[in-house]
């Protein structure tokens, strides 16, 4: 016989959720139906992650879950219990600094209104870490999972290419 069946988290009740957020322990309480982005924003106060379409299309809510870019709107907070979550707040080394990728976005006008930016940064950050030698085709493929209505994407591609270059030669960053 198998181990005793795990507890059912009742609907309409709040339950503890704990995970690592940007390298630090974080926790709060969530109903099973609470989406990860709402948990980040409303329970933990981490409002860097934006909320767009809430059905996985626009990419604004993209965070990294266990190192891979993923939609926070298609993830329940209770599913993320025990995971490693990284959000846009974790990109720079200090509050008054920008990461190489963020700096490239600033330099190349990779954002205008900035609504889609946190999600795009999290996808590109994962790509540049996994594939430091990635070219324009891979960058565009990654961006296909995001909607930006301001830039026409070209400055975003330029920024990503510049960041890839800067990260390959760190002392120029």
């Amino acid at each position: 016989m198998s181990r005793q069946a795990p507890a059912v988290l009742d609907a309409g009740q709040r339950h503890p959720v704990r995970f690592t957020l940007n390298g630090r322990k974080a926790g709060g309480e969530a109903e099973p139906r609470m989406l990860l982005h709402d948990f980040l924003r409303h329970v933990l106060g981490a409002t860097g992650t934006h909320v767009g379409c809430e059905h996985g299309i626009c990419g604004a809510c993209t965070v990294q879950i266990d190192g891979a870019p993923a939609r926070a709107c298609l993830t329940l907070a209770v599913q993320a219990d025990g995971a490693e979550i990284r959000t846009v707040e974790g990109l720079a080394s200090a509050p008054d600094r920008l990461s190489a990728l963020q700096e490239a976005f600033r330099a190349h006008h990779g954002l205008q209104c900035g609504f889609c930016t946190p999600g795009i940064l999290m996808s590109l950050d994962a790509l540049l870490r996994e594939r430091p030698d990635c070219g324009e085709a891979e960058i565009r493929e990654t961006l296909s999972g995001h909607l930006c209505r301001c830039t026409g994407y070209t400055p975003i591609v330029k920024a990503a290419l510049a960041a890839a270059e800067a990260l390959r030669v760190p002392h120029h960053a």
Binding site: S2, R3, A5, P6, A7, V8, L9, D10, A11, G12, H15, E31, P32, R33, L35, D38, E54, H55, G56, G59, T62, I65, A68, P69, A70, R71, C73, L74, T75, L76, V78, Q79, D81, S123, E141, T142, S144, G145
Partner: protein
Amino acid sequence: MKPARFAYQRAATTEHVLEALHRSGGEARVIAGGQSLVPMLNMRLARPALLVDIMHVAALSHVDDDGARLTIGAGVRQRDLEMRHDTAARQPLLAMALPWLGHVQTRSRGTVCGSIAHADPSAELPLVLTALRGEVHLRSRRRARRLPAEAFFTGMMVTARAEDELIEAVSVPAVRPGTGYAFREISRRHGDFAIAAFAAVADEKELRLAIGGVAETPKARVLPTDQGLDDALDTFAWNLEARDDLHASARYRRELVRRIGREVVLAAIRDREARALKEAT
């Protein structure tokens, strides 16, 4: 858009999952990666009383390869299969189709079996499963059974799965010598839903073409390799009973079946020849 209320259980064993499905009387749904189910929850098109999370069941997270078949467990994420070094060598059609599933941001969470369970008519994995004559492995407390893809997909987002059944795995035949494969998808942009998607398998016995995104389920036909091919594709195009929708007209879809269908079966034949050459050397 927020989901309606539901309870949540994180299962540790397959037995826990089957027990929860058995007890719930159809009110429970399995959640794996959630990339098809959570949009349905958010839009309140699905309102289950209980979600059973299977991603912590170790027994479901394997890809088994016995030489003849690849069996992909319910917990295997699409991206993990895509990144496995031997997927292309073991089943080329699967490797060709995987990069077309949604986006990297959804493949990182979404599972192979989850896409099969959702049974979207334009989805790539149901198409590949149909083209390869794959099987869906179902298990409940009552029984275990395997259904061929064509028997499993019964309608648009409707399958033969009973309410107490878990899709434990799907399996496809591994690559066979003398077989060629081809895949192609027509969509507005990479990652969008397919207007039409094509998967072809060519071996010494037959030429098989499966088409998704046109009919309510993926459909496969064995086609002649001689001059009868164009007529057979035309018949196939009409038999799919394409409809007009926001993305494309029925007429355009029929034309895709004739033209792209032809290109894809020829590509599969060329792939067979290329593989035969490689095997010979």
